[in-house]
């Protein structure tokens, strides 16, 4: 069974807020659901499948009840920030197998208002097998990604200047996004002179901590064709999970090696065909490593690939994250996958800001990482086509 061409993204909505101290997380989910359904031209009564991840308070059951949904299919897969990209694939599979016709995927959170960030000690539940042998050493999101960066620099000669270009590109896009949390253009110098958080990652190598959320609607081909929206279909998807390999850890590559290969194989396209890419950007290293692992350049050449504006729309060869990405626009709940999907949909519809819109953007890739790039993480890749 393939999902190729058999499910469509009909609705997308990004919550406009970046700070929401007076809203509950469930309210953010609800507002996003309503926004995405309105965008698609559908109503809550049309929804017969629901998807959410670990950010959803109370999980699937609480959210279905809160939103007043009547669904015949529900999926609470949680693979961190990559969850929502995987959800699109799972929704397509559910649609093809007759489990639902209109799938709603929601996410939202308010880490900014709640004082959560990637410099805080990781918290995990009881009985997590690795916890007794790791948590005492103070792993955080930023120092785990920093350790992957340090090793990448050691093996491939990647530099802080090259990494800084990822942030520079994000800032050039964010200046056109009125909702972006950070809208000032920065230079390589600005990144290198920002405070060191965890060597070798500076403050400006790290994404924003924002409140907010988003939602996506995935529908059957029949429903997509009945709606008055551009037709964006799912061409291919892949997922994977990578860890520390029993002690044979290799921190220089991510699960994108597998998820990307699966998605490209199913879609029947290759990296050269991609006109726009939404690439998870929790940190600058995340982008660099994933671009290598997805095959946009050779392993070890990511530094050269991202440098000199190559990721800036209208300037470089591969425009990415034209909303400003997690580095500048939005990274709600510390989970960037939903926002990555939404900007890819905008690009494919021709609805991105004119200054960053890619000409004739008919093929896009969305890729996310959830968890620690340096340790255990999930990867999800999705390839979308405008028909």
């Amino acid at each position: 069974m393939t999902i190729k061409g058999r499910a469509y993204i009909a609705g997308a909505f990004e919550h406009p807020m970046r700070k929401a101290p007076d809203k509950s997380v469930s309210a953010i989910h609800a507002e996003c659901a309503k926004g995405a359904l309105a965008d698609a031209g559908l109503s809550f009564a049309d929804v017969d499948g629901y998807f959410c991840a670990g950010d959803a308070p109370g999980g699937v059951h609480s959210m279905v009840d809160y939103l007043g949904l009547d669904v015949r299919h529900a999926d609470g897969t949680d693979t961190g920030g990559s969850s929502y990209i995987a959800h699109v694939s799972h929704a397509a599979q559910a649609i093809i197998s007759g489990k639902c016709n209109v799938a709603l995927i929601t996410m939202g959170g308010r880490p900014r208002s709640e004082g959560r960030s990637g410099v805080k000690q990781k918290i995990v539940g009881a009985n997590v097998p690795e916890a007794p042998f790791e948590l005492t050493y103070g792993p955080t999101a930023v120092n785990e990604y920093a350790m992957a960066t340090m090793r990448h620099m050691h093996e491939y000669g990647t530099t802080s200047e090259q990494l800084a270009w990822v942030k520079v590109a994000a800032s050039h896009h964010a200046k056109h996004n009125p909702n972006a949390m950070l809208r000032d253009v920065v230079t390589v110098e600005d990144v290198l002179s920002s405070p060191m958080i965890a060597d070798p990652l500076h403050r400006l190598d790290c994404c924003v901590v924002s409140d907010g959320g988003g939602a996506i609607i995935v529908v059957s081909p029949e429903i997509a064709k009945s709606l008055n929206r551009p037709l964006i279909r799912v061409l291919g998807a892949g997922e994977s999970s990578k860890g520390l390999l029993g002690g044979k850890a290799d921190l220089t590559y991510s699960g994108a090696v597998r998820s990307g290969a699966s998605a490209f194989a199913e879609a029947g396209v290759n990296s050269q065909d991609i006109k726009y890419a939404s690439i998870y950007d929790s940190f600058t290293i995340t982008v660099l490593m994933q671009l290598e692992d997805l095959g946009f350049c050779k392993k070890g050449e990511g530094g050269k690939f991202v440098a000199d504006g190559n990721l800036i729309s209208g300037v470089g060869k591969l425009p990415i994250n034209t909303d400003g990405g997690g580095l500048n626009n939005n990274h709600p709940s510390g989970r960037g996958g939903m926002i990555k999907l939404i900007e890819a949909v905008r690009q494919l519809r021709g609805e991105s800001h004119p200054k960053v819109q890619v000409n004739n953007c008919d093929l896009a890739l969305v890729h996310g990482t959830g968890g620690g790039l340096a340790s255990r993480h999930g990867s999800a890749t999705l390839i979308l086509e405008r028909v």
């Binding site: 103070g138 920093a146 958080i197 850890a249």
Partner: protein
Amino acid sequence: MAANESRIMAIPETHPEHEEYWKAAAEGKLIIKHCESCGEYHHYPRVLCPFCKSEKTTWKEAKGTGTIYTYSVMRKGSPYVIAFVTLDEGPRMMTNIIDCDWDELHIDQRVKVAFMQSGNQNNPGPCVPCFTPSMTENS
């Protein structure tokens, strides 16, 4: 600058199946799991070998020496050095590098095990294996 070792190391969650590991640590020994079926060492410890899935895994005392695979100095808050160290027996383990000048640290540096007590004086936890640059380094 030396790492600030006033940071309180979180007390690890303990389970009966890891009792020997913590007991050895209290005696200043690092023990790791070895598979009698395939001969591989692994870390963190499991009941089944992660490579061949045999249940014939036993504890072996490690030499307590290794090299830094990667590391990062956490500058935010009370500073500390987190790292992965490749033990001479093979496995890479997450750890802290202590008693060191963090500006002199580098990948492939030789290190040896040194134990730190988790928790604090009022609420002491098990000793946990950390590493410190070894004096015999010649790299």
